[in-house]
Symmetry: C2
Subunit: 366 residues, 2 copies
């Protein structure tokens, strides 16, 4: 007897979007000295969020409120939107998986920048959709080309992250608004704003939930420093939010993380301080790059992507040397970004280690 | 412009498997005096689990290990199975959603007891499957009838929970093993053992991961007292576990909950104590039922289902009266179980409140 998987499941490869740093440590047998590869916030969450999580841990025997009421209403007030225009989920990853299933089935086309967030592509594959990938232009997610591809392929979704990961580049809100105005009939924009809190004013366009074709994704994983808590949210027209509610796992969002996120949202002072520290860290990475003769791509995120001045092999060599040296970093997956390595803003001590390791890594690959 | 939902999404109703007690409190404007309706463990998790969660909260800025390595290996050792025969997920609910998608698409039939876990049905609906529902027999999930329906409808999955929710009844492991031996060709058994830790010895059949047709689901939500942490696991043949890995959200399981679950698993002494307290609580509910002239259905879980001695209207009347009186309980959704109400083992104080409220509730509905 054999399990009768669907044809689609049989056709899917065994694929993990990202191998975790812990797995790399287990393989090498050595812990990393610097963990600056997953765009986490080394500055951590607000102490008030930690305190709230500790209080919530005492009550963890209760299921979380399936409506995620308190956090959802606080978000609605903060943004501001109506309470039925926002949904809380298990990180942006979880929400992307659900949102993809609203529009994608076999034969449906989806457009994304080639080398943008692999987990989005993973969810489209999981829903049996067909991906159309469009290369970055000038290290930015190529708005005009994404729109053209969506028109050509009658796409159901365009994915755009702004600011972008893995290049750290961005469009200003006016450009995104123009893109929204030019979306082909019936095509959704999935606007991933995971790094939005790091961006300069004006990068996030004003929220307009009257437009049902835009679904925006935000998270407590990045600037709020709570990646392990798995709390993200999506903002959109009420029809799309209601559709997510038709398939989401109503009891899926852990209550400790929700309590932490609520406290984190209320501590905007902490967020401001994190933003300032991240800005200083970016400057430090720019300076390290310059000292080593590498071009840093200006970033609106908590990481900086460095052009290693060669091709994929050169960048991969530098990456491997850094990893062998105990510095956990990553690199873009696709050309032309894969001439680069991506360095997260770490603690001062971690950036010291990186500054010390980079010349060695460059030397071994020359 | 309108979002271009798939036909399936358009056809799905807006349905929430369970309205949460918090929503009921918001509607009534009054908090419940006793929270004994969601089969939670009022005795809470091991203090060691709480301590582990507090430590993990400090590190919440890190993404969890996408392989859930530490918890998964501890489970593999505990069960015991091989490490690639178990997968950790966002509660049994989350894992059921994924596992359903491995086998179910439009046109695929799935068999379950009528009135068994609504969230399983919700996930089958979400995957566009067709449910065949078989009534309980003698308040038990009807093994022979489930098998017959699966044969008749060429079902891809049979769902069985053992011990059962919402009746609290059970089959011994031999009966389940006989069922496994009689599964129709190509039909999976999804064996939900959420309440397994409460059951008498012999109710959980020995684990046999050599049989690829059985997928078992367990959780830290019930006996381990961590419902809000959202940590469940599935045990099965490696082909099925590998298939779940093809579509699961690799970074989806929060790290605070994982740390808590690992500590909880290691504190079997606490679990033993919870089991004893639950057994005493069941006896107390039996006694309250007897004192009120109601038949209690013997239970292998942390709740007891009480036959209100009439039809659905009678039971619903009792339920509504209890809820209006501040006692949060639930009742089975389908006949013939819906002549009953379901009472969770609460604290002594909560069961005192229930004992006091029940005669009033019965009186109002006579």
């Amino acid at each position: 007897m054999a399990p009768r998987f669907t044809d689609h499941i049989k056709s899917l490869p065994a694929f993990v979007p990202f191998v975790g740093p812990e797995a790399m440590e287990r393989m090498s047998g050595r812990p990393f000295r610097a963990r600056i590869g997953a765009n986490e916030s080394v500055f951590g969450p607000s102490p008030k969020a930690v305190a709230a999580m500790n209080r919530a841990a005492e009550e963890v025997w209760k299921y979380a409120d399936p409506e995620n009421h308190d956090l959802r209403l606080a978000l609605a007030e903060f943004l501001p939107v109506n309470a039925d225009e926002v949904v809380v989920g298990e990180g942006i990853d979880g929400l992307l998986g659900l949102a993809v299933r609203l529009f994608v089935e076999k034969g449906v086309k989806v457009v994304m920048p080639q080398g943008a967030y692999p987990t989005f592509a993973y969810h489209v594959d999981g829903a049996a959709g067909s991906l159309v990938r469009v290369p970055y232009v000038d290290d930015r997610e190529p708005i005009a080309e994404l729109l053209a591809a969506a028109r050509e392929h009658d796409a159901a979704i365009i994915y755009l992250s702004n600011p972008d990961n893995p290049m750290g580049t961005w469009w200003d809100g006016d450009a995104v608004n123009r893109m929204i105005g030019e979306l082909p009939e019936g095509c959704m924009l999935f606007l991933d704003e995971a790094y939005g809190e790091f961006a300069p004013r004006g990068v996030l366009p004003a929220i307009d939930t009257a437009n049902p074709m835009v679904l925006r994704f935000r998270t407590f994983s990045k600037a709020y420093g709570m990646a392990g808590a798995r709390i993200g949210y999506a903002i959109g027209g009420r029809a799309v939010i209601a559709a997510i509610n038709k398939i989401r796992n109503h009891y899926g969002v852990n209550n400790v993380g929700q309590a932490g996120a609520l406290a984190a949202l209320r501590d905007q002072e902490w967020l401001e301080q994190v933003r300032a520290r991240v800005a200083r860290g970016r400057e430090r990475i720019y300076a390290i790059a310059e000292a080593n003769g590498l071009a840093a791509i200006p970033s609106a995120t908590n990481f900086v992507t460095l052009d290693c001045g060669g091709d994929f092999a050169r960048a991969k060599g530098v990456l491997d040397a850094l990893i062998a040296d105990g510095i956990f970093v990553r690199m873009p997956f696709a050309a032309p970004g894969n001439r680069c390595i991506r360095i997260g803003v770490g603690t001062d001590a971690e950036l010291d280690l990186f500054a010390e390791a980079l010349p060695r890594a460059l030397a071994t690959t020359e």
